[in-house]
Symmetry: C2
Subunit: 353 residues, 2 copies
Amino acid sequence: MSAKDIELTGVKEIARRANVSIGTVDRVIHDRKGVSQNTKDKVNAIIKELDYQPNILARRLASKKQVVFAVLIPKISEETNYWEAPLLGIDQAGAEISPYGITLQKYLYDVNDKNSFLEQIKRIDLSLIQGVLLAPSFIEESEHFVKKLEIRKIPYVFINSDIQGHDSLSYFGPDLYQSGYLSAHLMKYLLKKQDEILVVNISQEIDNQHHLLRKEQGFRNYFADKKLENTILKIDIKQTDYTYISNSLEKVLKNHNIAAIFVTNSRVSTVAKYLAMTGDQRRILIGFDYTEENLSFLKKGDIDFLICQKPREQGYKGLMALYQFVVHSKSGEKNNFMPIDIITSENCDFYLN
Amino acid sequence: MSAKDIELTGVKEIARRANVSIGTVDRVIHDRKGVSQNTKDKVNAIIKELDYQPNILARRLASKKQVVFAVLIPKISEETNYWEAPLLGIDQAGAEISPYGITLQKYLYDVNDKNSFLEQIKRIDLSLIQGVLLAPSFIEESEHFVKKLEIRKIPYVFINSDIQGHDSLSYFGPDLYQSGYLSAHLMKYLLKKQDEILVVNISQEIDNQHHLLRKEQGFRNYFADKKLENTILKIDIKQTDYTYISNSLEKVLKNHNIAAIFVTNSRVSTVAKYLAMTGDQRRILIGFDYTEENLSFLKKGDIDFLICQKPREQGYKGLMALYQFVVHSKSGEKNNFMPIDIITSENCDFYLN
DNA sequence: CTGAAAGCGCTTACAG
DNA sequence: CTGAAAGCGCTTACAG
């Protein structure tokens, strides 16, 4: 065996076998133009034969290429720190992939203000961006935006809520229907046959109603599927200040004998507050999200169960999916529904969202 | 500004500023001998001033060093596929860090056979190993083994269960007491004041009893803490075949009016099978672990709740902790308790363990 | 105790 | 259409 026969690694070995330079091998690997079909075939055959896997470390080291992702999600509001968690996940993923030349640009909008959403979109310079991670809180406006992305062939990933019928790379978020269904399942354990139930939707934004209605639907369908005969009442509360909410609650609770309450979003803390203040502890209360406010009521026993959907993980996995696709051309599942976690006063300290 | 003043990056810039060669900089960074205190101080000062962060990609590319970790966990048995999950997590972590030169050696033992544990330990050549990830199922034997590791200064991480009083790098696994406590909390919702409860421990191995007793203790203490007055009965079943178990169950259930059953491990499926066969569906049943068997009973409604502790994540995070410590000298928390997940027939399909 | 050189497996101009 | 060379930020012998 002469020295020439020694097995090299990677592009060098491919080049040696194909009798071309490593520059040419590189061109073939990246499908760059300027290679004759003949040598292209030859090189590709060898790549296949060797089952060549590029060394990603060397690739990154040698390449000066930078990749920029835009992140478009709500900012943390005074009302709720919910969006802290997705951001945490995004930053974590960002730190992990930054050695590979990925930079993040964050555009945080006010979830209660459609205009701030539009303003943030305006600030994004699409010519500098290789991918977008977004929470499409405002449906129409989001649709308009992603159409522009599609024209420029910029891939994007939805988190937290989905918009159907678009060419998103993927979705990471809850299966809303099923989380309502689960809530009903939990509630069933705690009810007697004749107990009355109250469903409470609290939201200023009509846009978000889709969200809530889907959960309500799941909740109701459970009772229908299981042929349970409990009466289900419902109120929609379209103001989010405490006075308004407590007045609304007072009215229903006075006139009905409600044994359990299901709040379709994180505002469950307001309902808990009302019940706590009126000394009303008999009622079962189930709601959503691992926010500070909710946690304190959970621990005091005013909230029985919280349903959570791994907000941190939505951000983390969403960004990772974008990275995998843009940098490694790998695409995973389109729909990625988060686990539906049940949080109680006894396991909440162990929850890592 | 002359050409000499141009800012370089990394070791080159440090070398330039310190007026030494990059070889010397490398020696200082890795604290290798053969550098005068004087230049060492000079270089270190500059490293600090620049807040130098080594490029880990370049480091790995240049270094031929290989790191080997031994993994010592139970193999999947016919009785339960529980250990499939931790192994999955370990393999996932292994794949992620293999570009950085990490290799795994797996040593799988039979959890029902102490000798197979000892045999696997014998197969490990400690002189070739830079770290160990282990599930210390057999306490005494594990203690003996980790003492040997400590003498050789080989770091190790426990998963699934912990042994106190040793110098492990960290532990990833359940807080057993708290998971029993949570089970009681769930059960409380489903009980009436006068209902009787049955605790069932099923296990051949005395060694595992610590495990189970800790959960039982948490379970009992919940009822004590909350001053609940339900009677709690208990049986220890020391054979794991179905006939034996069903006979044992039959005896208690016949003589008592049991409303709810708490099984302290994954054998809950056997109890479910018995209840299903006898057409006994009124009783609440809570147990542990996301195994195939358990899942099928959960979906059919024979099991009400399963408590799970992210077995995949235990393996994943345990190996990652070892990697962070050995390769990057970073150590995290010593005790890492997994989330205590509540699985029902409605959220089980979304569970990612 | 210190330095100069080669090399890890790629990419990137540049030259032809 | 193709090749030869330089370089990414490190580590590793080797020489002195």
